[in-house]
Symmetry: C2
Subunit: 336 residues, 2 copies
Amino acid sequence: MQQRREKSPSLAWRGRRAIASAIDLRSDSAVSSNGVAAATLIPTPTKDLSSGASDDPPFGILYSENFTIRCYEVGTNKKASIQTIANLLQEVACNQVRTLGFSTDGFATTLSMRKHHLIWVTVRMHIEMDDYPNWGDAVQAQTWFQENRNGTRRDWLLKDVNTGLTLGRATSTWVMMNQETRRFARINEEIRGEYHQYALDPPRFSFPEDHATYKKHQLAKLENAEHHITGLKPRRADLDMNQHVNNVAYIGWMMESLPADIANSHELRGIILEFKQECKHDDCVESMAAKFSPADQSGDEEHQFLHLLRLDGSSREINRGWTHWVKAKESSQQGA
Amino acid sequence: MQQRREKSPSLAWRGRRAIASAIDLRSDSAVSSNGVAAATLIPTPTKDLSSGASDDPPFGILYSENFTIRCYEVGTNKKASIQTIANLLQEVACNQVRTLGFSTDGFATTLSMRKHHLIWVTVRMHIEMDDYPNWGDAVQAQTWFQENRNGTRRDWLLKDVNTGLTLGRATSTWVMMNQETRRFARINEEIRGEYHQYALDPPRFSFPEDHATYKKHQLAKLENAEHHITGLKPRRADLDMNQHVNNVAYIGWMMESLPADIANSHELRGIILEFKQECKHDDCVESMAAKFSPADQSGDEEHQFLHLLRLDGSSREINRGWTHWVKAKESSQQGA
């Protein structure tokens, strides 16, 4: 049942270059290594899921949990869908902050944050998958967060519990927002003092994508895309505890505008979401996608797309996105 | 965190009468007790989740598994949604048939079934919930199946692992269908011989709703309902391993046509789904709902609705439904 595809170093590097190109269509520059050198990269995974080394951070700062993939969490290719992966990332992050004692209203708010009506919001999410687990497979999700200039960065590492192989990596960027004015807020020293002790220090990146790179390479905005679908509406079940459309619903909408031949015969290797605006229950959404092919890709083996979700009949953006698709093996077809 | 509401016997009985009335709007008869007397009803739940009695059926025939409710599985009221409950019922049933050695293509097919291109399809599902678990709560789901005249009946019992209290009960009816002609098929002795040994005998019902009652009290078909919504489309993520829209998506569509004041201030106590026709990815669906108030209900405390899902602009039914809503406590508002 296990058919793991470990990327060769050269392929992994090509993947990174391709991502960098897609991130900013106006630039051909490779991923900047600024800041990465100072951080510890996750070592090559081994059979032993937890290192147990003496320099491990205090309990709870690196937080892990195992999850079994359920039958309704797999797609038509019988593997976990990207929505399932995103859900598990959310679950393990929520469980960490709850374990650490934060309130989960507004995701991990501190006492001072609640006093000032401040909440954490995610502005960016990046997931890279080497392979997807099957129904019944046990997955270890590890997560931690670290401070950056304007907020926090949360990373994840997903491993197959049985083989110890890495299935995927993810990173996200979080900033503070005033719950009433919906405007971004600066983090003061009082608030920082409440979560600083739980941040991983020195930082450790699940993959080498540093804050400086992100700032320079925001996703381009699509205007008139070749593939689009209108009239997408949130369902009641898409609303989270805080009455907003769950971020994972955005992934589903991005997939809706994708050409069927890609969705049915390719597997998603990477996805970036840039969250621009919250979506509410009575909004109506348009999903757009356009193919983007870097020079080092050939034929039907690999495809990259840029995505845009916006309010129907309006220029108000909800979400920008990027996806990377690789031709699925015969047994894994119909992979969206 | 535990706020369990155990129904008093009289309330439970009133609930049953109300269901019977809703099941057939053309009849005032109470639930028939035909067949129920001959079956063992599930005993009042105790702190001990498994009885361990010497007359327990062989291993695997009564199958149990524990699940932890994840943060993305709760709704705006911070409790598990009915979709989550339906998903868990599906998961524990799939895990049982896999454990027993059946193929899970077409749900629990036997060797002879595959030879004759036959699959199991569910034609009816009935869930009754006393209470819903919160994020992080552990739920024990127990399931078993038993033979009936034209196929099988599968039952479930959901308990709170921590308190041992019953959270809900469910039952479903399964018949055999030819995968190519999509017509119902009779079960021959060869096929019956392959699953007979795994059926619970004597039968045990999670709640007293026998096959005879079901046959007599099919849900009425809605024609022009006061609440309706059109243009509902399956998303890629709604497709299951077998390329059909997952049954749980139907529940979401039923909720979409429900008036907001009911969905936001009431909790779902019971739901019946009668599956009429499979739905595919490019179908467009209309959801209709109409209030139905039995004489023994008063004010805003309780509501019952009849539902219909049909192909947009057509009379072709996908699904008939019935839901039962009870005013939520202040802390559980926004309950859909």
